[in-house]
Point group: C2
């Protein structure tokens, strides 16, 4: 995969949200980037050094990471001169956008001319095996959600950071574009061919030391009509020992599906556990991770207390409270 | 898709099983084929007219269908002269093999020269949408299994034939290679990219007349660690009104997974229904279809009686008894 340190390219981002990927990399691997590159009119700002291509190269940047999404998720023509300058300056380029670097003839030509590489993290580069379901050594924790985009990646990353700080053996296993950008490797699961999904997850989470934990980034939801098959492959390919339930309590309906309500946390617990126990009868639901960003603090804490009382397992918001109690809950495995 | 009538190509099949796909087409659409082509040493025989390429063309064959699998599922070099002769004689070629007709330069050249087409049914040719989960008109029945290869396709085809004979409005919806070969169209679901699986199933089973039934071919099993994600996409994309549970009662373990036992029919019923009700709260399990080919007749009927008593829904072997009772069970929807 691509090499750090990075120059984070924010392009002409119309707002901070458009640079969500760069923000994620900066939040979770602040040491990985030498600075940011902002074009004229860029409205996003990570608060790190603004570098020109020349300055970034001099600072040792190995890869320009496209950390911005424009409308349609495509590679903007207006970015091209900057990207080509980066290739000329000896950097590789990494992108998670829908249209591919490799399909842009001017970038391909410049990369070839300067002996640089173009990384499209949205596209699998490995021929994954068919899953074999064999019991693997080491331990695995999977984040599952009542819906898409409820904080599954955030939860896994927060638990991983906490475990590292405690000196535990742990690896974050990325299964989506942003996670792959943060970790530098992973499986772009939504782009894998159906027959190989569970095998890709087995490949991503191989045998390990008995006390080592994989923190597996979840995708979709078992209750989301569009993406539940991807989630199912994570549950069966991931062979989790522990499940963490992720939830966002203020959604009026499932993301992108106006006709569907979110399931309750109890429903998610029962369905996810039943399915996980097909491959690992010892699997347990160890905690609940709630994204309370849309609740005032007092209401958020009240909600978490209620969930904890009703479910009988720790219920926390890792953003407000850290992931310590979720990590401690893993001790029951 | 490709056009009937077909010439069924059995090649140098070492036994009848190798020609399973040709057998399936002959069993379910006997009127679709003008005859079979057998090479020297072919040990499979469908009991229909043996035709040369010239004779088949004269009989009106529009497509030579490769109905045989050799070791490794590839296109044998020894077949080439026959396949090229068929293209010269004005036939298209259809194949469900792993390696693709389109990757064989001699076939591509001959097809271009004679203005013929090469159909690789294993590869999707449609850009499927992301599933939207919207309620569709018409009715849908999905076959789900305790394991892979327990008779889901057979059950859907047998129900479809029975419904046609009764003058009911019904369509068989193919989701695998053999089903697509039989029906002439469908979705090769195991080859679809993860994000689009459920959308492909929605695309395959669109709005229809209120009393029309889609009989959807199942794939994999919710309890099969390798393929459960594909099954999940069928359950949520298919939006079934009715589920038929399929089972083969003599398996020592899950197909290809020596460490896994098959679930009970009760487990399959509970899990599949819970998941189907996410997209269709009115969904019901209407019957059980058992493949009893490895049981003596008396034992088979005793087993079916026991299942029916335990589950409280019709339990039949469509091969031994026909699918009439399953079709009648749909009346409860």
């Amino acid at each position: 995969m691509f090499e750090a340190p990075y120059l984070l390219f924010l392009g002409d981002a119309p707002d901070g949200l458009a640079a969500k990927m760069a923000q994620g990399i900066h939040d979770w691997r602040p040491e990985a980037s030498v600075g940011q590159f902002r074009m004229e009119g860029c409205k996003a700002d990570l608060g790190i050094a603004n570098l020109s291509i020349k300055e970034a190269a001099a600072a040792g940047a190995k890869t320009l990471v496209i950390g911005v999404v424009n409308r349609g998720g495509i590679i903007s023509q207006s970015w091209k001169s900057v990207l080509i300058e980066a290739l000329e300056a000896g950097m590789d380029i990494a992108s998670g956008l829908h249209n591919l670097l490799r399909n842009e003839p001017d970038l391909v030509e410049a990369a070839a001319k300067h002996g640089r590489s173009l990384f499209d993290v949205r596209i699998p580069t490995v021929q994954y095996p068919i899953a074999n379901g064999k019991k693997r050594t080491g331990k695995r924790c999977l984040a599952v959600g009542t819906d898409c985009s409820v904080g599954k990646m955030y939860t896994a990353l927060a638990m991983h950071r906490e475990m590292q700080e405690r000196g535990m053996k742990a690896t974050f296993r990325a299964t989506g574009q942003t996670g792959i950008m943060i970790e530098g490797n992973g499986v772009p699961l939504d782009a894998v061919v159906a027959d190989f999904m569970a095998g890709a997850v087995e490949w991503l989470t191989p045998d390990n030391e008995a006390e080592h934990w994989d923190l597996i980034e979840g995708q979709g939801s078992l209750f989301h009509a569009s993406y539940s098959g991807v989630t199912m492959a994570l549950v069966h390919g991931g062979q989790p020992d522990a499940l963490v339930l992720c939830h966002e309590p203020t959604r009026p309906h499932m993301r992108g599906l106006p006709d569907y309500k979110q399931p309750s946390l109890e429903d998610l617990r029962d369905v996810a556990l039943r399915l996980a126990q097909v491959v690992n009868p010892a699997c347990k639901v160890v905690g609940v991770s709630v994204n309370t960003q849309h609740l005032p603090e007092a209401e958020a804490f009240k909600y978490l207390e209620e969930v904890e009382a009703a479910m009988g397992i720790p219920a926390i918001d890792p953003f407000r409270q850290g992931a310590g109690r979720l990590v401690e809950a893993l001790a029951c495995i």
